[in-house]
Each structure stands twice: as C-alpha cells, then as structure tokens.
Assembly symmetry: C2
Homo-oligomer: 212 residues x 2
C-alpha cells in the first residue's frame, strides 16, 4: 500500500509569484521541524523570505538548537514569566518588531494567542494544525483522528484568529491513515506534509494580500 | 493544476478477498449514479455481488430508468404513502427480504432511516456521504465545504447508524477544491470518487464481518 498524499491548492512554490522578500518571525514550542522546513525552503530558493527571529517559550526546547544551527537569532520568552496571555503577547510583539518581522509564523506554538498579537500583525499571523480542519481542532489532533476511525486526515495552514484553529484556510494536505498506524507513525506522515504546505501557505498569504 | 485524489485505505478491490457473492438491495432517491457505478463494478468482475432490487422513493427519479437499463428490479416506495419513517422502513425491510437482499446500500437515499431498518440488517446498512466525515454532516455537504473555504473535501462510506452521517467509517476519498469551483464542478469531482470507494467500502464491510 502506498502512502500517497494530496496537497491543495495543487500548486508548487515555483507557480506562485513572489516579487517581495518576506520578513518572518517564527514562534515555536517544540522540536522546530517546521522551522527547519521553512528555512530549507528559503535556502533552496523556493520561498522568497528571511527568518528574522525565532521566539520560543520552553527553556530547553529543541527548536532553540535548531535555530542556532540555522543561524537564526533565538529569543526565549517564557510564558511563566508573564502574568497573562496578553502580557506575553506584548513581549512577543515588541520582540518581533525589533527584529524587523512583518509576518508571524506559528510553527508549533502551544500557546493561545490574543488580539494583542493578532491586531499588531493584521492578517499576517499564520498557524499550522495537524488535521484537515474543521475536523479535530485543539490539542491531540492526530490522536483525535485515530480515535474517530477516519481513513483520511492531514494538516492545514490558516490565518490565526482569536478562536483556536478556526481562521480562513490557505492550504491543506490529506494523508491516508493506514492499518497499524500509531500516533507516532501517523504524526510523522502528517509532518512530512506540514513541511510542504507551510511554505506554500506563506507564499499564498502574501499573494492574497497583494491581490486585495 | 491537476485534480489528483487520494483513496484510503489505499486498496483496490482486487486486493480484498471476496469469497462470497453478496446480495445487495440498493436504496436511492436521485439519478442513481452510484447504483450505476456499483453495477458496473459487478459487471467488470471487480465486486463480487448481485443487486437484487432497487428501492426508490421519488416517482420519476432518474434512478428508476437507470435500474431498468441495468436489468435491476425497481420498486417505488413513496414516503408520502406512509404515516411515519418507521412505517416506510417496515415496507423497505419487507421488500428487501422478499428480494433476497442481505446488505442494504444507501446510494443517495434522502430519507432518515430508523432502527426498524438498521436492526433488520445489523452492521449491513452502508451509506455514502459527500464529505470527509466528521466534517460537513447533513444535507448540502458540498456547499458546506465550499462555504467553509476548505481546500480539501471528499466522500465517505460508512455504516449507517441512527445518527445521520455518523457511523463507523469504511473508506474515504479526498479531492482538492480548485479556484473557481462551483457546487456543480466540485460535486462532479467528488462523485467520481464516490464511484470508486462505494464498491470498495462494500467489499471491506464484508471482509470485516468475516474477520470478526
């Protein structure tokens, strides 16, 4: 059995005009595989962008080492140091502005964002979620899909909005769920597609903004 | 842009053991394209089954002519002639049993079925729905997907249960939503996949029953 996938819109980055170099700020909480994928897409010339800064919230998160290897400045903003989500987001906005970031890329950012961040970068905060939204919002989306017994799941790049995993969708990828799949095997299959559609979704958001 | 699709489980009928000839009764309300797809799958030898009877509920439905062309006995059970859903389902069960059907295939059956039908054919009533369940249950699933702005939708073969579009899933297919899609163009793309996964889902249900 093959594990073919389906990406939609069925475009490659080469098919999307990218007249401007985008300045990205990345927020991440985990290992940073999406940071790596975006950085590699930039290095290969497919995505016209620069990553100005990585902000991470977990001391010791793998993404910090990843950023250092990639030569990306990494700033720790530990959510435990802030009295509220809004206070954390104010620090994030300040850090992003100082770094010269125009777009905010939530690459596995496990914090709920507030209007403080969203209003500072209107229609420029993008998130990735490991399901075919609107199915399986929230945490444990891969596990939710396995428990529900669906045969197809995937991932979604969308604009962040105050409601979690709910903003307008930019790109999606579908993958099969195979007999014997574990959360780990399925998550790995979904992540391969995340790494494809996140750079695609970023380029599509910039294109949509120019077309408005 | 291609319009590739993804079927899961990624199997063909030739890969599923089919030691028995299944006796199917088909329920349909519309044009009967799924009846046609199942009949052609049987004729081509891919699905080991017989269609014993078509039951339709709309006088003048296209599926009646389709059944006649295919040599399938067609019985009109007009829901307006019955006082309740349960009464209609009692007539359906009687017609199916008389025709020798062991499996019930809801191929675009636009009536809510009751435990009268479900309990008469336990785990042998299958439905198809034009979305990737659990997204977009109920009527107008293709329009719901377009309105939601998703980039991937599809169709689902599942066991029928008292809740609409909610039973355990047997097979799903994903298709892209393309720029400029109308409900008609998208529905046509989904239907191509329905015609693939409905015979597959029937064979999988029979296999699952043998494996229990």
């Amino acid at each position: 059995m093959s594990a073919a996938s389906l990406i939609s819109p069925p475009l490659t980055l080469a098919e999307i005009p990218q007249p401007q170099i985008l300045s990205l700020g990345v927020l991440a909480s985990g290992s940073g595989s999406n940071l790596e994928a975006i950085a590699q897409s930039i290095r290969g010339g497919a995505l016209k962008a620069r990553i100005q800064v990585l902000i991470y919230n977990q001391p010791g998160a793998g993404v910090k080492d990843r950023a250092e290897r990639l030569g990306i400045p990494a700033v720790l903003l530990n959510h435990r140091d802030y009295a509220s989500r809004a206070d954390l987001d104010r620090a994030i906005v300040e850090t992003l502005k100082q770094a010269g970031a125009d777009w905010v890329i939530m690459a596995g950012w496990m914090r709920i964002v507030t209007p403080v961040l969203l209003d500072a970068f209107p229609r420029r905060v993008l998130n990735i979620h490991p399901s075919l939204l609107p199915s399986f919002r929230g945490v444990g989306a891969v596990e939710q899909a396995l428990s529900a017994g669906v045969k197809v799941t995937g991932c979604t790049v969308h604009y962040a909005v105050p409601d979690v995993d709910s903003g307008p969708i930019l790109a999606q990828a579908a993958v099969p769920i195979l007999p014997g799949d574990t959360p780990e095997s399925l998550h790995a299959r979904v992540q391969v597609q995340e790494h494809q559609i996140f750079p695609l979704g970023i380029a599509l958001a910039a294109q949509r903004e120019r077309d408005i």
